[in-house]
């Protein structure tokens, strides 16, 4: 049983990591906790639903469009709820992202209804694999592969490319970065786009695996946030490690303690870190 629990934990953790990276990058560059991040995840899933199920496109183009929409949604979010308020107190953009989150959820409910929807075409469930007594679905396997792949690519972009260096410079010190000629507004926009892109991918993968609903982003967003704080907010490898830690902790905890506490476990972890090590595992003081 433990092998299956660890597998489930890793699979859930992969999705949390993707969400956590967005949180952590946006925090790094904009010094903002984006409370609408869970809705980018939900938006990606619903966009995929719109093209794949409602309009009947094929799976690859639907995926591409949904991922693109996720990035676009990130940019719009930055333009509407972050940029106009970046000079005001830090509390203001925090509140506006909460407003955006409520708005996006309400929109999804209005257009798609409150009921849970399945992203499967034809079949009502996926054929799963069994390896060494561990059962998992193809999408779950894909989630882990995609998650690790994207992290590698993202790492390379941040280390090697000009834009990556500019993002890191802006995160380090916004004012100095603008002195050396970096367009920090554009960089912030790009960061939001990357965050939205990753969240949309997570939303599509998890939505395909577990059905979608307008409120799916709430819990996923909180867990991604917890993962980012656990790893040390602003730190990308930290977000990845944090995501897998949360996934494993809640699955193994639910397996051996009680599944009624499954969601509480990640919040207990969040409380514990905030008290004991507020800067997170990899965070600097």
């Amino acid at each position: 049983m433990i092998a299956q629990l660890i597998t489930n934990g890793l699979l859930a953790g992969a999705a949390y990591s993707l969400i956590a990276i967005g949180y952590t990058m946006i925090y790094g560059v904009g010094k903002l906790i984006n409370f609408a991040h869970g809705e980018l995840y939900m938006g990606g899933a619903y966009c995929f639903y719109l093209f794949y199920i409602v309009l009947g496109w094929d799976i690859y183009s639907s995926c591409l469009v949904a991922m693109g929409t996720g990035a676009l949604l990130g940019i719009v979010l930055e333009k509407v709820v972050y940029r106009p308020f970046k000079k005001s107190s830090r509390l203001v953009p925090l509140i506006t992202t909460i407003g955006a989150s409520i708005f996006l959820k309400a929109m999804a409910m209005l257009f798609f209804g409150v009921q849970t929807k399945s992203l499967l075409k034809g079949a009502s469930f996926q054929q799963s694999f069994s390896v060494l007594g561990i059962t998992f679905t193809p999408v779950q396997g894909l989630t882990v592969v995609i998650c690790l792949g994207l992290m590698l690519i993202l790492g390379l972009i941040l280390k090697k490319t000009k834009i990556g260096k500019a993002i890191r410079a802006t995160a380090e010190d916004r004012t100095s970065a603008s002195y050396v000629g970096i367009d920090t507004d554009r960089i912030t926009s790009i960061t939001f786009a990357i965050g939205g892109f990753l969240a949309a991918i997570a939303g599509i993968l998890v939505g395909y695996d577990q059905n979608i609903s307008p409120t799916m982003g709430v819990l996923a967003g909180f867990k991604g946030f917890t993962a980012a704080v656990l790893g040390g907010i602003g730190n990308i490898p930290g977000a990845v490690v944090g995501g897998f830690c949360i996934g494993l902790a809640e699955n193994i905890g639910a397996g051996y303690i009680s599944s009624a506490y499954k969601d509480s476990i990640s919040f207990i972890i969040l409380l514990f870190i905030l008290i004991v090590k507020p800067q997170g595992i990899f965070g600097e003081k």
Binding site: Q115, T116, S130, T135, A254, S258, S259, A260
Partner: protein
């Protein structure tokens, strides 16, 4: 100048109008001492508005019928409708208003289990009967002397499910439930009865409302290999649960509750819902229901539902009780406890010592190719 004088005219006209309304209002209430005041609390707006509005219509129809026939011993019934918006806090202020300002004798409501539990104590303290048309949570049984309902408690539903599955020679079960008033109530009642019959419950796994990942629960259950899994889960959770049962290849019969009466589960889960067995209150089919449905159609141009029939019955039951016991909350309560077999539109209604209806039945249904097939009627 001309304009101003017009405004003055309109203003004074409005004042006169308001004064008249107040005077007429007072005049009426003073001239008719025998007005029978009742209240209604339900969600008339918000996410559960469809429940509340069809109940309100059931109440309106019953009140019109009774008043047209001369009212209760010459006094007309007047119902004050309050909107709870499915918010327990709003229900509380609504009931306080009904008791303190409208001086009602009895209240029809609340629609939901949580709402009814929230206002039960106020009703008990105010010695005002609370009669819910739809609330089914097991906890309401112990909510106090003044709380009644005309829909059967989930506890009875759990007994029917436990008995059925035990008689089919299933002995080892597991339960996955939503951790709220409704789900935990069914879980406790089912466990108690199934174990009472001689069965074993190997695992009881709760989840927060809205959960969409049941893999951990299912891994634990698959390890224990039970014959069946009882799932008092909300419709959205049920649909995902059924899918993950298939994906993790968990064997065993799935046994559900009245959550499956919501057909949205079938639209999402599709073939994964095939073979599920569940319990649901038996649909009223008697002559009383057909009569009610006809009158409802004429009045509102819409088919009468179980829900509106239950609210319609509430008014008639209260009218009966007031007729025989007069205008006192305490007497109405005592009379209600003596009702044993009132033949209502929503079925036969009789109360036990807890104010629960014991005379309504459940049907066991199996899902076959997306259709409901009744396999056992009580």
């Amino acid at each position: 100048m001309k304009r101003v004088s017009w405004n003055k005219w309109i203003l004074s006209a409005i004042i006169v109008l308001i004064a008249c309304t107040i005077l007429i209002g007072y005049g009426c209430s003073e001239s008719n001492d025998k007005l029978v005041n009742l209240g209604f609390i339900g969600p008339l707006t918000g996410p559960a508005a469809s429940y509340g509005v069809s109940q309100m219509r059931g109440v309106e129809l019953a009140v019109e019928e009774i008043n047209d026939a001369g009212g209760i011993e010459g006094g007309k019934i007047k119902v004050t409708f309050e909107d709870s918006q499915m918010d327990p806090n709003k229900a509380i202020s609504a009931l306080k208003k009904l008791i303190d300002i409208n001086k009602v004798l009895a209240v029809i409501g609340e629609t939901t289990t949580t709402g009814t539990l929230a206002i039960a104590n106020i009703a008990n303290r105010g010695k005002t009967v609370l009669l819910s048309p739809l609330a089914s949570g097991a906890k309401i049984t112990d909510a106090g002397d003044y709380v009644f309902r005309v829909s059967p408690s989930d506890a009875f539903q759990a007994i029917v499910a436990a008995k059925f599955i035990f008689q089919r020679d299933f002995r080892n079960g597991a339960i996955v439930y939503t951790n709220d008033d409704w789900g935990a109530g069914l879980q406790k009642a089912f466990e108690k009865n199934f174990v009472g019959f001689g069965g074993r419950i190997l695992a009881m796994e709760g989840c927060t409302p809205g959960t969409q990942d049941f893999r951990t629960q299912l891994v634990k259950i698959k390890n224990l290999n039970p014959d069946f899994i009882y799932i008092p889960l909300h419709p959205d959770e049920s649909a995902t649960f059924l899918r993950q049962v298939k994906e993790l290849k968990v064997p065993g019969q799935i046994l559900g509750a009245d959550n499956f009466s919501e057909k949205a589960i079938l639209r999402t889960a599709r073939s994964a819902a095939d073979g599920v067995i569940f319990t649901m209150p038996t649909k009223p089919t008697g002559e009383e229901f057909r009569n009610f449905s006809k009158k409802f159609k004429v009045r509102f141009n819409e088919d009468g539902s179980y829900n509106s029939a239950a609210a319609y019955d509430c008014v008639y039951i209260l009218a009966e009780a007031i007729k025989s016991s007069g205008l006192s909350g305490e007497n109405i309560k005592n009379t209600l406890y003596n009702i044993r077999d009132y033949k209502g539109a929503s079925g036969v209604i009789g109360f036990d010592k807890n104010g629960d209806v014991t005379t309504k039945k459940f049907t066991v249904i199996k899902i076959k190719n997306g259709e409901y097939v009744p396999i056992k009627k009580q």
